[in-house]
Symmetry: C2
Subunit: 334 residues, 2 copies
DNA sequence: CTGAAAGCGCTTACAG
DNA sequence: CTGAAAGCGCTTACAG
């Protein structure tokens, strides 16, 4: 590899002068600068960042520990947002997938710390509590789409309570008074919070909460036996029947479109629907289009990185708002 | 930061001995090794990888230039596969999103080359031709899910022709003789190849190709005016009507489930469907489940990285097979 | 089995 | 405006 000395020899100057040109130091005669510049291009010289890092005692790298963020649909937007802000601050992100694997996680962390990362980001593909490895406390760190109850770390999560409220409010505004909720597994953080939002919306509309209107759409992976079909069946068996349903996620909603047909009910005609996630593969392709709450993935990624570059170290949990994506499923047309 | 010298002082030895312990050199007395080990833990010492890189003249890093691979659903599996193989070879991947942006791409490339990446991977989220930046030719490089007609680089892409063949064959095996194809925009590589596979399957079944059975489901982003609805309408207007349809992607298929209802046709009963992509958000949630061809994302990522670690430098295009994911949509039940 | 010297490619601080 | 010296934290090659 060609080094600063090779360039110096080629340009007939000292290597220190080359360093000045590379770093755009002002104190170089224009003529010398030009000559060095030409040599740099002639030899295709690139400064060795390892040498720079060693001398400067900083790496310019921020570690990004990803729990399936890059493989789950759209969660990659967290990474995208993080990369945007990092790049604005001339930092580069080093991304490692940890994929639930303890040993991998430890190896990844060791590797990142040996590379002297200046900060660490731990991001999950869904909103949940995570165990924070103790090494994370040795450098500035933030959590994205996850939180810890044992370690005090700044944490950026979606505001699932607000989303639950808004998804319900949209239906209340259309005059519905009997609104079902097909819930996620209650062990999921989002399930609890969205339910709370649903209840708050009802309360604000002065409608008594009826627990029979809340049914579970599925168990956690491989654990539950309840299905979306059972959930729909039990809602449809109620007297009076709900005239609208809040679906715990777009996948539920998609299934519900089909399941309701068996009761002679068409979404957007006899029954209204709202949902969560704004999966771009699902929501716009249903007809009528699915009205759903979009997760603030990009904003969480941006906010988390932004926080790292701010002086204040406030270790609280920030809840970022969902966006209401209004299509047609929450409206009824005859 | 604590260095090798600090550890040496703490352990009462020379820093060279510490280096030996860290690198597991055999020639160290057990007693000394233990003492040094304790000092390492006491001081929480971690070798500085920048110093190592400089001394060893290699970075252990492979650059991964991603064109939306981490943000598009499931394309992240390319990265996952790449990371698996890199990790098996004790290399680490440095991922940068380039997102169509020329300037970003140049910056990313410069950064990676200054970090002395030992190889480069350029990956696209869909199968297409890409412009290869000239700097890529200065280090070993591979293309994933994309190819170049001007530069000779090893390239790993999905075998869209085979997929088209298989998606059609599944329907032929069920006795269908009149099979529609709702095609992607023909400017897309996959559209051309899948059509070729469709035609080969028909030919092998000794069925004459009828161009009226091939309709376009959409134009490229913002360009075409043709919709899935028009495509379905024109297929349904044919005499005789097709009894089965190959859909260019799962999103088409999803829409087709709904659109066919207007003709009184239920997928899996009066009409059979196959498709491409195996979007896990869509295919299993349709009823009946969608039979579709799964893209070999993980395999492409793995194969591409594997190629970098092999001695031979064969610059040809490898086409990796799709998997047939059989659900129920290609079968008819009354 | 252990250590002193040299050098990887840079930058910082000081001279000229 | 330009240069020689020292040092960042390691490893390689050579002595003892």
């Amino acid at each position: 590899m060609v080094s600063i000395k090779d360039v110096a020899k080629h340009a007939g100057t000292s290597f220190k002068t080359v360093s000045r040109v590379v770093n755009k130091d002002p104190g170089v005669r224009e003529e010398t600068r030009l000559r060095v510049q030409q040599s740099i291009e002639a030899l295709n010289y690139r400064p060795n960042s390892a040498a720079r890092m060693m001398r400067n005692q900083k790496s310019g790298v921020i570690g990004f520990l990803s729990d399936e963020v890059v493989t789950q649909p759209y969660a990659g937007d967290i990474l995208l947002g993080a990369q945007q802000v990092a790049s604005e601050h001339d930092k580069i992100l080093m991304v490692v997938n940890i994929e639930h694997n303890r040993r991998h996680q430890q190896q990844a962390l060791d590797m990142l710390l040996e590379r002297r990362v200046e900060a660490l980001v731990l991001a999950s593909y869904f909103h949940r509590e995570m165990e924070v490895p103790p090494e994370m406390l040795t450098v500035p760190s933030v959590l994205v789409n996850c939180f810890s109850t044992v370690e005090q770390l700044p944490s950026f999560v979606p505001d699932d309570e607000q989303a639950g409220f808004d998804a319900t409010r949209l239906l209340l505004e259309q005059g519905h008074r009997c609104i079902g909720l097909i819930s996620l597994d209650p062990r999921i953080e989002a399930a609890r919070l969205r339910l709370a939002g649903y209840q708050r919306a009802l309360q604000q509309a002065e409608i008594a909460f009826d627990p029979r209107l809340v049914v579970q759409g599925e168990g956690l992976a491989g654990q539950g036996s309840c299905s979306t079909q059972e959930a729909v069946d039990s809602l449809m068996a109620l007297q009076p029947r709900p005239t609208a349903i809040v679906c715990g996620k777009d996948e539920f909603a998609m299934q519900v479109y089909f399941l309701l047909l068996r009761f002679g009910l068409r979404v957007g005609h006899e029954i209204a629907l709202t949902s969560f996630d704004n999966q771009r593969l699902i929501a716009p392709n249903l007809s009528p289009g699915l009205t759903t709450m979009a997760l603030p993935h990009l904003a969480m990624g941006r906010a988390a990185l932004g926080h790292l570059f701010k002086p204040q170290a406030d270790n609280s949990i920030r809840r970022l708002p969902f966006s209401v994506i209004e299509r047609e499923s929450h409206l009824l047309t005859s």
